[in-house]
Every structure is written in structure tokens, then in C-alpha cells.
């Protein structure tokens, strides 16, 4: 696993000795959420959430289309 000290979800914020994180943000979306949490905690702990960002795909669905004629990179070279 990556160095947890670089992970924003290691948000214990207790100033004490660093310990293994309980929660590790693996993908980009998790890192975005963890970043939002840390930013909010700068002021106060938030109890509500904005709706998560929505993705609007550009190409043919990449994983489940029966055709895969066009990939999400808008071409066919990822097929």
C-alpha cells in the first residue's frame, strides 16, 4: 500500500504520532472526497454532503456495451 502519510484521508487531525490510517482513499473520487472533508474540517465538521460529481460519458459505454465500437476515449484504439 502507498505511503499513508501522503493520503488526505488520514484525517485524524490529532497532532499526535502518525499511525496507520484507518481509511485510505484508493481512487481519484475517494481522494476528491477526502480533500473536501479536510477542507471542511478546517472550519467545522460538516454533517451534510454535496451530491457527488456526475460523469457524462462521451463515447460508447466502455465496459458493458454489446458492441464496443467506440470507447470512452472517443475512439476505438482502446478496444
Amino acid at each position: 500500500m502507498s505511503d499513508p502519510s501522503s493520503n488526505p484521508s488520514d484525517a485524524t487531525g490529532d497532532g499526535g504520532p502518525r499511525r496507520r490510517p484507518r481509511i485510505f482513499a484508493c481512487n481519484q473520487k475517494a481522494r476528491q472526497l477526502a480533500g473536501m472533508v479536510l477542507a471542511r474540517r478546517g472550519a467545522a465538521r460538516a454533517l451534510t454532503q454535496d451530491p457527488p460529481p456526475t460523469t457524462y460519458p462521451y463515447g460508447c459505454t466502455t465496459v458493458f456495451a454489446p458492441g464496443w465500437e467506440v470507447d470512452s476515449g472517443n475512439g476505438t484504439d482502446g478496444l
Binding site: M1, S2, S9, A11, T12, R20, P21, R22, I23, F24, A25, C26, N27, Q28, K29, A30, Q32, L33, A34, V37, R40, R41, R45, A46, L47, Q49, D50, P51, P52, P53, T54, T55, Y56, P57, Y58, G59, C60, T61, T62, V63, F64, A65, P66, G67, W68, E69, V70, D71, S72, N74, G75, T76, D77, G78, L79
Partner: protein, 476 residues
């Protein structure tokens, strides 16, 4: 307050690292064992009272801290919390990214399972509708339409499709050369791609395609016996002997010119060779860079349709290829199993789709006569028309379809952890199965969930052993 873990999927790797995939955000979190237990405890149907639960833990302060972290990350939420509404549409008009030009609706093959020529054809009437070939003017009009509809996107994509695309190479050449001129004027980059059955590849055509760095997908089902089972000429003769030398020439030329990856698209039918063997043949014997497998789309009554057992076997075979993909990723190497590659990329980015694909959004199809369809599969269906390249997009028809097709309107998807990736699946498939493109494809839910499970486990294994590999999928 009564709290509950949101819709999610728990998984772990072989080393015991625990993960959770959150369906409300598409976030993937790795958890230590006590935190994983919290996620599981709060997954009870009625949830738990947070304060009461913390009080009963051996280290209440630490437990409460963990719980609050999970609440803030959206993993655990109040039972009665109403989800914040998502927009039904992005700001419209949504700029086009890809235009698929159906340059011909004719084909020189007569593949038994083809949606274009079989019972799944959705144009009015059976067989060949509209003009057989797109003329050069319509091809150029299509380029103009794409350029003016793509807003400030610095790059657009043009995909040529058919029928057999290369039956109308004249239109491909005309469109490409015109697009080059227009792109230069407008300071845009253009990416070209096409799908072909490879029967008509000549030295001149290969030269043109590689010069313009086309992304090329060849529809091929495997070795000679596999290819000739379904991919036949109208006479019934198999096509393998015709395509094999042409494919070798294409791949060799493309490698010399350092072109884009060339992919094989395999339609998987009942009784087909295991995909691992087919993958091996196509990459090692023929030299393809990528291989994508597509289960045939057909009703269960067809003898080549994949029944339940066929899908189970396919998933098992995918598991074998996934092991190879993970091993390569751990070593920092590329592997050409494109189904899994695409899934891992989407998982890494945390894709959370409002619609299953870009049809009608960033992607439109153009018929041989210049009519616009949601995608290339709908271009000859009048009831799915969304305008023409000459008159532009019928924005009302487009918005109306997209609102109806939004995943939040598909009640069948409400409780499925795979919804951020699937969003109900292919519109064309839904139209063929249920007569309504905006319905969820419930007939392949189990297959989808099985494949997403495979993707999650593969992702976890890579994240644990070589997370650097995943940074290639980072989206800025």
C-alpha cells in the same frame, strides 16, 4: 441518530486488505480491519444508532472518530436522509466529442449474428434502408457539423462505421482530408478511428490509415475455425483466408510507423473457443495490441446465443485473463485485455455515470443520408432521429430522450452497486429486448455485477501491490 452504510460493495485482496466501493460516489476506500467491521455493522437493513453503538465499543472515542470519518466520506449516512437530487442533464447544448459516420449500410460479409442485418435491425423494415453509401458532400457536411457543435473542445473524434466501412473508402478519404483542413483553421486536433472486417484492406488503404494515425479495430472472432463459424461471405465461405494476410500487413505497417494500438473485437457466441486461447492467438500469433470481447446480443432462442451457462463460462474465462492483467500491472506492464483495462480505468477515476454511454450527449451517429441518430446503431431509426447534419440537432428530442434515460429514472437500478458504471446498459440492447431504449437491461444484471466484482478485486490487488500503475489512469 439511526445510521446506515450506503449502497456499497465490500471486497478484499488475497493479502486480506479490506476495501469498500461506494455506489453513491464511486469512491474506493481501503479500510483497516476495525473500520471494515464498522462498515459491515452499519450495513444492517435498519442501520444502528450511532451514539449507542459507540458507547458499547471497547474504545468509544476511537470508535466515534472512525464513525465520523465514514460519515464525512459518505460511507455511512442517516437512514432517513434523502439523497440530494442530481441534475437530469448537463448544461445544454452539450458539446460534441465524437461523431460516428456510417459511411455505408452495405456489407460484403453475412455474419450470422449481425445486428445490422439480422432480426435486431431497428431501422424501418428489414435490410438496407436509406442510401447505400454516404456521398462526399454528406461526409464533408458531417465534418462541418462536428466542428461547429464541439464548442471549445480542443480535440474531436471521427469514427467511421458501417456496414463494412471500407466499402466506401472514398467517403473516408474525403472526410479525413476535409477534417484536416478544417481542424487546422479552427486549431483543433482530430482523432480518427474505424472498425473494419479487414476483407478490403489494401496496401493503399493501410498506407492512408497509418499515415493519419487511425485507431483501428478489426472485427475478428479468433483463429480460422472460430472466424469461419459465423463470419462468412454471403456464399457461406469463411473469411479467414482473406483477412489473415491483410491483418498481418496492417499490423506490421502500423508497428513500423509507430501507429496507435490496433484492437481486435471478438464477438463471443455459444460454444466458442475459451477467450484465453483466443486472446493468446490474436495477440501472440497475429500481433494485435488489444483484444475486446463482446458477448453476442441475441435472444435466447438463437442457437449461437449465450445462455446462462455461457455467461458463467465467459466470466470464469475473464477471471483467468484478469489474473494475467493483474500480474502484468504489478510488474508495471501493459496487458491488452481491453474489457478489464477500461473497467479498471473507470474504477480508478471514480466514474459515476448519469447515462450509460455518450449516445445523444457527446456522441452522435450520422446515417448515409446525413440524419443524426443517438449513436451509430440508431441512425436509420426515424423514431430515434435527433436532427440532421445539415439542419443541426433537434435539441428538444435530444433533451427529452436524455431526461428519460437518466439512471435515476431507472427504478431497476436503484439498489444495484454497479449503477455508477452500468447506468442501465446499452440503449440499443434495451430497444431490441424491451422495445424501449430508456429501459434498464435487467437481463444481464448478474453478468454486469459479476464483471464489476472481478474489476473491483483486480483493482484492489493492483492498488495494494503497485499503486503507481494506476496513476496512468489519472484524469486531470
Amino acid at each position: 441518530m439511526q445510521l446506515r452504510t450506503v449502497l456499497h460493495r465490500r471486497f478484499s485482496d488475497e493479502a486480506g486488505t479490506e476495501f469498500v466501493y461506494l455506489a453513491n460516489s464511486a469512491a474506493i476506500l481501503a479500510l483497516d480491519a476495525p473500520t471494515a467491521e464498522v462498515v459491515d455493522a452499519f450495513a444492517a437493513p435498519d442501520g444502528l444508532d450511532g451514539k449507542e453503538w459507540a458507547r458499547t465499543q471497547s474504545a468509544p472515542a476511537r470508535a466515534e472518530e472512525t464513525l465520523h470519518d465514514l460519515i464525512d466520506l459518505g460511507a455511512i449516512r442517516p437512514v432517513d436522509e434523502v439523497a440530494a437530487p442530481r441534475p437530469q442533464l448537463p448544461p445544454m447544448p452539450f458539446p460534441l466529442a465524437t461523431l460516428v459516420l456510417n459511411v455505408t449500410n452495405k456489407c460484403n460479409l453475412s455474419c450470422t449474428y449481425c445486428y445490422e442485418y439480422g432480426e435486431d435491425k431497428i431501422g424501418e423494415g428489414q435490410g438496407n434502408n436509406g442510401k447505400a453509401r454516404m456521398d462526399d458532400k454528406t461526409a464533408r457536411d458531417s465534418i462541418d457539423f462536428l466542428m461547429r457543435s464541439s464548442g471549445d473542445r480542443p480535440q474531436v473524434s471521427i469514427t467511421f462505421f458501417g456496414g463494412e466501412t471500407l466499402l466506401n473508402f472514398d467517403a473516408i478519404r474525403a472526410a479525413t482530408e476535409y477534417a484536416e483542413q478544417q481542424a487546422q483553421k479552427l486549431a483543433k486536433r482530430v482523432h480518427y478511428s474505424l472498425t473494419t472486417n479487414a476483407t478490403l484492406l489494401t496496401e493503399d488503404i493501410v498506407d492512408f490509415l497509418t499515415e493519419h494515425r487511425f485507431g483501428i479495430t478489426v472485427s475478428i472472432d479468433g483463429d480460422q475455425s472460430e472466424q469461419d463459424r459465423h463470419r462468412t461471405f454471403k456464399s457461406g465461405k469463411g473469411s479467414f483466408d482473406v483477412i489473415e494476410p491483410r491483418i498481418r500487413h496492417l499490423i506490421e505497417t502500423n508497428k513500423q510507423r509507430k501507429g496507435r494500438a490496433i484492437g481486435a473485437r471478438v464477438t463471443v457466441t455459444a460454444g466458442a473457443t475459451p477467450v484465453v486461447e483466443t486472446y493468446r492467438y490474436l495477440t501472440e500469433e497475429l500481433g494485435f495490441d488489444e483484444v475486446g470481447f463482446a458477448p453476442v446480443t441475441a435472444g435466447l432462442e438463437r442457437d449461437y446465443a449465450l445462455g446462462e451457462q455461457g455467461y458463467e463460462r465467459l466470466l470464469k474465462d475473464f477471471g483467468e485473463l484478469a489474473d494475467e492483467y493483474v500480474d502484468a500491472a504489478v510488474d508495471g506492464k501493459h496487458h491488452g485485455f481491453s474489457n478489464l483495462g477500461d473497467l479498471v480505468r473507470e474504477l480508478h477515476q471514480g466514474v459515476n455515470k448519469a447515462h450509460p454511454c455518450g449516445a445523444g450527449l457527446g456522441l452522435l451517429g450520422v446515417s448515409t443520408e446525413g440524419e443524426l441518430g443517438l449513436c451509430h446503431r440508431f441512425v436509420e431509426s426515424k423514431s430515434h432521429s435527433v436532427g440532421s447534419v445539415q439542419d443541426g440537432v433537434d435539441q428538444q428530442a435530444r433533451a427529452s430522450f436524455l431526461e428519460k434515460a437518466h439512471v435515476d429514472n431507472k427504478t431497476d437500478c436503484t439498489s444495484c452497486f454497479a449503477r455508477p458504471l452500468c447506468a442501465g446498459g446499452c440503449y440499443h440492447e434495451a430497444h431490441v429486448r424491451y422495445g424501449e431504449a430508456t429501459k434498464a437491461n435487467v437481463h444481464y444484471c448478474e453478468w454486469i455485477r459479476g464483471f464489476v466484482d472481478l474489476g473491483l478485486k483486480s483493482y484492489g490487488r493492483i492498488a495494494a501491490k503497485n499503486p503507481t500503475f494506476l496513476t496512468r489512469f489519472d484524469q486531470s
